[in-house]
């Protein structure tokens, strides 16, 4: 029998087994020593920049342990006087340029820089600040950026690129002028950002942080002329206890409801109610499309960061998205349009509590506003909800939990699963099996859809056919899935996409979790909540049934379309940027604007632009026509596009554009 000798190395004089850790840092942490780091995240590539995980390896000197593979027989020291001094000095150098004001920083208390400065005994004042003062960027409704607090660890850059495949942030300039920012130093709102906020989730300081709307919430709650309605998303209830320092098994939703009512909320509803409504609308849309083989696979549309990603980066796939609004917007729409939803004559203020930063962006979308009035007035993240309660001085632990208000407080187990990756697909499958099949799977777990990271697949037999479902979280993983779909390596009928790894439980609005361990615990809590429900299939929700009877008639009805569905459109990724090609002296020339965005670029945009310039010059039209190129006319499906004056020429050719020019000049 072969003996398997365990490989070991020596860490601070103790023999430690090496069990497949990717680097020495993980081996050291596994042995119970929490070496400090800023730039190390197990889900990201190794960067080796913060120089805090320094160790001394016999024969090799001082090394950053995150960049070293553990080897059998290695003798490692983690706490020599030299190492302690080096770590502290490195931290003090970071602190020297940190324009932080801990007392007024939202990150205070969960800030890794603050935490490690205390742990390592850093002193201020040994080094002077060398970088100029930098202005914060508050342009985005979702995430605020304060480069003065940035320590250049690059975590945000890597999560945006590696996990989300967006690359909205990157390092610019060098040396002491180095700054992490969107392209060309533009505000975040004018960049290719999709508002997922994962940058703020990994940021160790307050340099990237969810936008703070707590003060606006206070204003709304203290307006006696309005009825304040609060809705709470599924993933919030399994994470709020962390931020409030309650025991994990506490009924956080019940305590939150009690607390919100103390602060002036008139109704507290459960967004999970609307998740059941979403399942029914989306399930019906899917069944219809599946029967007719129409625009398959169908993609879910609950995740606003995924929707923004599709609109900005993947316009070709937009027709595949479900037209369903997200549960947040469905509930708000019902509250606003239902003649007697709330039973209070005062005008409504709708506040959502979400695990998500992108929901702030979603609430502000023009599609979800009527006459300039958004359906959802403001969105608080889980973090902000905890801050709201804390700022009132409420001892939440001493409150008696209270139920959500009816009827929009009723939910099924399926709806609660919306808070995790795989949950929406599970809920839709349960519903589809009840509608199309014998209903045996109506309470099924579909574990294969939620176990593990990245892409997960499930199949079930329905109506004599095999229904294939995929769930994916992380937008990079979603893009890989799309490329597999395009190449035919994979064929599925329904795809659930959530932008944040693990789904909403790992949303950027959730309490800060530097270790990443809470995400799994939150997901387990959602699974347990689903199992504890008697009703676990969305159509079993009696309140949803009543809503159809009284208002909506049936899924997909005219009213349902109007209240619960929406449309998408391609959106440009970059703010105002265009290229001027022909220049004359006369002002008021006819503007010919050719699109060079990704989609039109691939459809021959550059060649068309070249031919246009040549044709305009050949005809001596420079004084009457101005040719420019831009980076998206937001009509990606019909490219290449050229706008001639007010007229859009789709699937443009030189001949058709010239004809349009002649027509418009003739008219003029």
């Amino acid at each position: 029998m072969p003996t398997t000798a365990t490989a070991t190395c020596t860490i601070d004089g103790r023999e430690v087994a090496i069990a497949g850790q990717r680097n020495l840092l993980e081996a050291i942490r596994a042995s119970g020593i929490d070496l400090p780091t800023f730039c190390y995240h197990s889900e990201l590539s190794v960067y080796g920049a913060c120089r805090l995980c320094l160790v001394e390896i016999e024969g090799r000197g001082v090394q950053a342990s995150c960049t070293i593979a553990p080897e059998p027989g290695m003798v490692v020291r983690t706490q020599t006087p030299q190492l302690r001094r080096l770590r502290r000095t490195n931290l003090e150098l970071l602190l020297a340029n940190h324009q932080g004001d801990c007392a007024c920083c939202d990150k205070s208390g969960s800030c890794r820089l603050q935490d490690l400065a205390l742990r390592l005994g850093a002193q201020r004042g040994r080094f002077v600040r060398t970088v100029p003062e930098r202005q914060p960027d508050r342009s985005s409704p979702a995430v605020h950026r304060d480069p003065g607090k940035c320590i250049l660890c690059g975590d945000c850059v890597r999560v945006c690129d590696e996990v989300q495949g967006i690359g909205a942030l990157d390092f610019a300039f060098r040396g002491e002028r180095t700054v992490v920012q969107p392209a060309f130093g533009k505000p975040l709102a004018e960049s290719d950002c999709v508002h997922c906020g994962q940058c703020s989730r990994v940021c160790p300081t307050g340099a990237l942080i969810p936008a703070n709307d707590v003060e606006r919430a206070w204003q709304a709650l203290s307006d006696p002329a309005r009825c304040v309605v609060v809705q709470v998303a599924p993933a919030v209830r399994v994470a709020l206890a962390e931020a409030l320092r309650l025991p994990p098994h506490a009924d956080a939703l019940g305590l939150l409801a009690a607390g919100l009512r103390r602060l002036g909320a008139h109704r507290v509803y459960d967004t999970a109610f609307a998740a059941d409504l979403t399942v029914i609308e989306e399930g019906n849309e899917f069944v219809r499309r599946w029967r007719h083989g129409e625009r398959l696979p169908m993609f879910t549309s609950c995740c606003p960061a995924w929707v923004a990603c599709a609109e900005k980066h993947l316009p070709d796939w937009l027709p595949h998205l479900s037209s369903c609004r997200s549960p947040q917007q469905m509930l708000a729409s019902v509250l606003r349009r239902h003649p007697d939803a709330v039973g209070d004559p005062r005008p409504l203020t709708v506040i959502s509590i979400m695990p998500c930063t992108a929901k702030k962006f979603e609430a502000a979308r023009a599609e979800f506003c009527r006459d300039g009035q958004p359906d959802v007035d403001l969105v608080l993240t889980t973090q902000e909800a905890a801050r709201l309660l804390a700022s009132a001085g409420l001892d939440v632990a001493r409150l008696d939990p209270e139920p959500a208000d009816l009827p929009f407080g009723l939910k099924t187990g399926a709806a609660v699963l919306f808070g995790m990756s795989g949950g929406v697909a599970t809920a839709v499958l349960r519903y589809a099996s009840a509608v199309l099949g014998d209903g045996r799977l109506r309470h099924h777990d579909f574990r294969e859809l939620r176990d593990g990271d990245g892409l997960r697949l499930a199949e079930c037999a329905l109506a004599g056919r095999t229904l294939r479902v995929a769930a994916v979280s992380g937008l990079s993983a979603a893009r890989r899935l799309l490329s597999d779909l395009r190449s035919g390596r994979l064929a599925v009928d329904l795809v659930e996409v959530m932008a944040c790894p693990g789904g909403c439980v790992g949303g950027a609005g959730q309490p800060v979790d530097h270790s990443g361990e809470q995400r799994l615990r939150r997901a387990q809590a959602l699974v347990a909540a689903d199992r504890s429900e008697v009703m676990r299939m969305s159509a079993e929700n009696p309140a949803v049934g009543r809503l159809y009877e009284t208002c909506l008639e049936r899924p997909g009805s005219h009213t349902a379309e109007e209240w619960l569905h929406t449309r998408y459109q391609p959106r440009r990724r970059l703010g105002d940027l265009d290229l001027l090609f022909t220049q004359g002296e006369r002002s008021g020339r006819l503007l010919v604007l050719a699109c060079l965005g990704t989609s039109c670029h691939l459809r021959g945009g550059p060649r068309l632009v070249q031919q246009l310039i040549e044709a305009v010059e050949a005809r001596g039209l420079q004084q009457r026509v101005e040719v420019r190129a831009t980076f998206c006319l937001e009509r990606c499906g019909e490219g290449p596009n050229v706008r001639v004056g007010e007229r859009l020429v789709e699937q443009a050719s030189v001949e058709r554009v010239l004809a349009a020019i002649d027509e418009q000049l003739g008219n003029a």
């Binding site: 690129d161 967006i166 690359g167 909205a168 942030l169 990157d170 390092f171 610019a172 300039f173 060098r174 920012q181 969107p182 392209a183 060309f184 130093g185 960049s191 290719d192 990724r573 970059l574 105002d576 940027l577 265009d578 290229l579 001027l580 090609f581 022909t582 220049q583 004359g584 060079l596 965005g597 990704t598 670029h601 550059p606 632009v609 070249q610 310039i613 040549e614 010059e617 420079q622 190129a629 980076f631």
Partner: protein, 171 residues
Amino acid sequence: MSTCCAPPSTAARRFARVTEILARHRHDPAALVPILQEVQEVYRYLPEEVMAYIATDLGLPPARVFGVATFYAHFALAPKGRFVIKLCDGTACHVKESQPILDALRQRLGLSERKTTTDDQLFTVETVSCLGACGLAPVMLVNDDVHGQMTPQSALQLVESLIAKHAKETP
């Protein structure tokens, strides 16, 4: 909304050059630095719009292209003058008193550390860390021409001759 201030055919020709450069590098994102170098030769700097176009063409995030363009001192984000003077301030040149030359040039042209290009777009004055011609210290480059063993006086004479040359070429 910025524009490139060139007569019609220049703008068109430049765009054609950029598409040609991208095609010659097979639209390979790994060739970003040489592509930027060649495109900078076309425009004498890297306009944002052109970087956005390059990013779209190569399938890279624009922030990455901007990051690379701002990392290397070679790339310019603002238009440079017709004559780009690069004065070496490496160890050898520094010891051989390059600083008085820099002071003289800046004073003559009304430039500073922050303002490196003259308003008439004729001169850009910058320093570089080493031109690899230490035997000729102090050295400066005017566009691609090397001038060695400079003094403040010879540098100013050179500037005057360039101004005269420009005046003769542009009626």
